[in-house]
């Protein structure tokens, strides 16, 4: 079996050439255009991305009524913010938010694949797609969080949400201490994708 895990030295070069060859053939055969892929990537740079999630969480920290609505009826709360007509689009058709609070820490996983709330957070980072994370997070979440530099004591109830059907989940992290005077925009800058998946805490800079 050792052979199976050998890493060809030109593995990345081969993949890059094959991906470009595939894209070129799809363009030549009239399936996509020479702009299609760039346009998709631009969509995730400028429209669907973690900058939306950061604004949603910052508003929830500022406005307890909004936070409650975000937990009870996530799509309706998000729509109120007017972030764009794509906020219930691909991989965000049905979303649900869960809130961290004293004594409760939430983590989002997808043990079967990599379901992720695109409109709110964009595309999933490598740690989320990692088979080791997907194997370990449910059975030993605190050990996993420690590897991310987060300590969650045993008396805190850890809730794991496995994205196995229609819902795409995200976490409303707790507002960090020492942020009382901050504006909504300043608060949004403290919200990372990892804090919205439960493997980091939001921290005052």
């Amino acid at each position: 079996m050792a052979n199976l895990f050998e890493y060809d030295s030109d593995r990345e070069k081969q993949s890059a050439a094959r991906a470009k060859a595939l894209e070129a053939l799809l363009i030549t055969k009239g399936i996509i255009t020479d702009k299609t892929v760039d346009q998709v990537l631009d969509f995730f740079e400028t429209r669907m991305g973690p900058f939306n999630g950061a604004k949603i969480v910052a508003r929830a920290w500022m406005d307890p009524d909004f936070k409650q609505k975000l937990v009870e009826d996530t799509p309706a709360a998000i729509e109120e913010l007017g972030l764009g007509d794509f906020m219930a689009g691909a991989e965000g058709e049905h979303m649900r938010a869960v809130a961290n609070e004293p004594g409760v820490h939430n983590i989002i996983i997808c043990t079967l694949c990599s379901c992720y709330p695109w409109p709110v957070l964009g595309l999933p980072p490598y740690w989320y797609k990692d088979p080791a994370f997907r194997s370990r997070a449910a059975r030993e979440p605190r050990a996993v969080l420690k590897e991310f530099g987060v300590d969650v004591p045993e008396e805190v109830h850890v809730k794991l949400w496995d994205s196995s059907a229609q819902i795409r989940w995200f976490v409303i992290p707790e507002r960090p201490e020492g942020t009382e005077g901050m504006s909504e925009e300043e608060l949004a800058a403290l919200v990372t994708p990892e804090s919205m998946m439960g493997v980091a805490l939001a921290k005052a800079a």
């Binding site: 990345e12 020479d34 998709v40 219930a88 999933p124 740690w127 994370f133 496995d162 059907a165």
Partner: protein, 241 residues
């Protein structure tokens, strides 16, 4: 039994990745973009026709089936987008859009000259449909009347269907008695019909929860609850389980 259905709980896999990058090589962005375009041009969607020659269905289920069909050791060997590159190239070959020979030949050309430009073809309606798909999505919710066998707080038993090409039951939940946390309004289809597995037609969806200690007795951290979203086809009343 497929390892890919049973990742949750697997031990001794080493430290987790803490890499927060979405893509680790530039080429990965290209295969992601191609996948998104296929999703958008897939023929089951109710979106405007385009001149694209894409004439088949491509959904997440196709990508997942490919990953679930892999040799499990290769599943661990290949990075996320390497699996996509293999699965998507294979799909275009199997469906006679391209041949393996022409893909191999062109790959050699780009290996020899990585900066050789892509061909230029401009067909605006194709690109418009891709953005339309990303904007409106593809909700599985259907406006049909269904009955709900369970309500929040009920005990349910998770099915253990035979191992087939594709499943949406996390392996560690199979056969467990759980509690319904939430009943979702409406009915939900799955992207493809997986008859023996139990999902496909419009049916209710539930979130169910169970203490992690019930899943892995005496071999788990304390004070952990695991929730999963499950289609009604996977749930039975304890009386009939």
């Amino acid at each position: 039994m497929k390892l890919q259905h049973h990742l949750g709980g697997l031990e001794a896999v080493g430290p987790v990745s803490t890499d927060i990058r979405v893509f680790v090589e530039d080429w990965e962005t290209r295969i992601f973009g191609i996948h998104s375009a296929m999703m958008a041009l897939s023929t089951q969607l109710d979106l405007p026709e385009t001149p694209s020659s894409f004439r088949t269905i491509w959904t997440w289920a196709d990508l997942r089936k490919g990953a679930e069909a892999m040799n499990p050791f290769e599943y661990f060997k290949y990075r996320y987008y390497e699996k996509w590159l293999g699965g998507i190239s294979g799909y275009f070959i199997e469906n006679d859009y391209i041949t393996e020979e022409e893909l191999d030949a062109l790959t050699e050309e780009y290996l020899a000259d990585p900066d050789k430009p892509l061909p230029e073809v401009n067909v605006a309606p194709i690109d418009e449909r891709v953005i339309q798909y990303l904007t409106v999505g593809d909700s599985p919710k259907r406006d049909v009347t269904v009955s709900y066998d369970f309500e929040a707080g009920d005990k349910v038993v998770v099915a253990d269907p035979p191992s087939v090409a594709h499943s949406r039951v996390p392996g560690f939940m199979r056969g467990l008695t759980c509690e319904v946390e939430k009943v979702y309004d409406g009915a939900y289809v799955y992207l493809c019909d997986i008859e023996e597995d139990g999902i496909g037609p419009a049916m209710p969806c539930y979130t169910v929860g169970v203490s992690a200690d019930e899943i892995w007795p005496n071999n788990v951290e304390p004070n952990v609850t695991v929730f999963a979203d499950l289609y009604a086809g996977y749930l039975k009343s304890p009386e009939y389980a």
